[in-house]
Amino acid sequence: MIAMLLTTLGLAMREIRRHLMRSFLTVLGIIIGVGSVVTMVTLGNGTTAAVQQQISSLGANILQIRPGQGFGRGGGGTQPQPFEADDVAAIRQQVAGVVRVAPQVQSSGLAVRNAANWSTSIYGTTNEYVKAQSWSIDQGRIFTPQEEQAGKTVCLVGATVLRNLFRAESPIGQRIRIRDLSCEVVGTLKSRGSSFGPGDQDDVVIMPVKAVQRRIIGNQKVNMILVSVDPAYNSDAVQTSIKSLLRERRGLGPNKADDFNIFDTRQISETLQSTTQALTALLGAVAAVSLLVGGIGIMNIMLVSVTERTREIGIRLAIGALGREVLLQFLVEAVVLASLGGIIGLAIALAASVLLSPMLQVPFLFDPTINAVAFLFSAAIGVLFGYFPARRAARLNPIDALRHE
């Protein structure tokens, strides 16, 4: 039995070597099928994961209220009026369904420590913001109420800033200089990982809003208000309440348009989610097509060689081979070629995914299921089209197989 298997393996390998072109094309078909499917699905998974991470880092259902009409910071025309600290308090007290309300003033500047310096974003805000944005504290603590009340020059630093200003030493209690301000580091923010492209969320220094207003910007204005909405409330209803409250506070008559806008991060999540779904579907479709192309390639080669192979089967049968011996040889041939193609395909897919993931800024996620499925599917195609024509031929009378045209 083992001797027979070895003999058959030898026969199969010899046939593979004798028909190098045919074998190569078969293997190529499988490589294309397996390689493309696994690469696409792996990259698709990475993209989905990246987007999901983005979405979760936006914080759940946060409203960003900015002065100006429409999306962005106002555009042309008269400068829209910024918000006041009282607006923040009013929203917190008068609107039902808000969990956290935080002012935000934004600036940027050079952060310096000893010889190291780093240009970064400076957010003036409150602990509410840190919580609403679901930042976690890595070392140290958030601000104390007194620090917020008094506008103390203390700060929380993001991971990117930390990395660039401090080496291995603990930053807590150390002082950094921002603009002309000396500021004590009380806490560090846990990294959120890089977002797409330039939007590095870890490149930030957070200070109490009053400190930034007084010591850096020099006025009491608020650029943006962040509101996190109680999930039990309807976000649209909460937005409507905020809108009418702000219109009243800003003295807008019934005919006047809003001079501020409310942006719901849930919209981003929804957009991103549907985009990712579309992307995944597209990748899946492309992958399916390449699998099909690979499959058709294999099929073609097998069908083209059917005449030749049928004659080969006829000859083998005529000189005394049993049908099952010939079939075993063909099966071994198909399995060897399919596995070879499958393994090469998987290797190429692995290399391509590892290489392309950083370029696309998505994580590399190895998915054993898709690897196994693609391999088995292509192998099945190879075996199917290698084996079944052979089975038909092996059932013929040898003389009919020999006469096959």
Binding site: T7, R14, G320, E325, N397
Partner: protein, 235 residues
């Protein structure tokens, strides 16, 4: 009288069905004794190859009985027929039927491979067979690199390499010049005489048929005549 090695009784073979059906054999009766050397002659299309294929268990008759060593071949399964071919028959096809891209040596080795012989045994026997047909220098060449006559001789080597009990040769000299044809005939004759191999060969040439002891003439799917033209040496 010995029991016949092969007995055909009322063998018919019909190709196709319905109005297109063609009866290539219309009731063949024939007995072949062990050690016979027979030539089969007849016009083209008279059914010679069809009968040879049935004798060689490559094809099955439409009706009639085929007894080989007393066994009903027409009742055997596919695998049993394959084993008969493997064990008892050597077959030279009218169209050679060598494996493409496969060296002459490996082609000749193939029947031994299916008999489960070891590589060394196979190679030695195959080389010896090639030597007998004068092709030992061409062992490494593939059919595409051989002339028609050389391919035919490889096919003969493949048929004799197993030293079969019955050698069925369908026009084994069809593509050879007279000189080569004679050599092949002498080879078959020697086979028949020295090893006691039963030989049946189809030929169109009376010269070649003269090497055999019996000539069977075919016409329109029937045996027209059987004549013994040479008596065994000591008879």
């Amino acid at each position: 009288m010995m029991a016949p090695l092969i007995a055909l009784r009322g063998i018919t073979k019909t190709f196709g069905a319905g109005p297109a059906a063609f009866q290539a054999l219309r009731g063949i009766n024939l007995e072949i004794q062990p050690g016979d050397f027979m030539a089969v002659m007849g016009p083209s299309g008279s059914g010679k190859s069809t009968m040879m294929n049935i004798l060689g268990c490559l094809d099955v008759p439409t009706s009639g009985t085929y007894l080989f060593k007393g066994h009903h071949v027409e009742q055997l399964t596919r695998d049993e027929r394959a084993l008969l071919r493997r064990r008892y028959f050597g077959f030279v096809f009218q169209g050679y039927n060598l494996l493409a891209r496969t060296s002459a040596l490996e082609n000749v080795e193939l029947p031994l491979l299916y008999r489960g012989e070891a590589k060394k045994v196979r190679q030695e026997a195959a080389l010896a067979a090639l030597r007998r047909v004068g092709l030992e220098d061409w062992a490494r060449h593939t059919p595409a690199e051989l002339s028609g006559g050389q391919q035919q001789r490889v096919a003969i080597a493949r048929a004799i390499v197993t030293e079969p009990e019955v050698l069925l040769a369908d026009e084994p000299t069809g593509n050879l010049d007279t000189e080569r044809s004679r050599e092949i005939m002498q080879l078959l004759e020697r086979f028949n005489r020295d090893a006691g191999i039963t030989v049946l060969m189809v030929t169109h040439e009376a010269d070649m048929a003269a090497f055999a002891r019996t000539t069977i003439k075919f016409r329109d799917g029937l045996v027209e005549s059987i004549e013994n033209h040479k008596q065994p040496v000591d008879a």
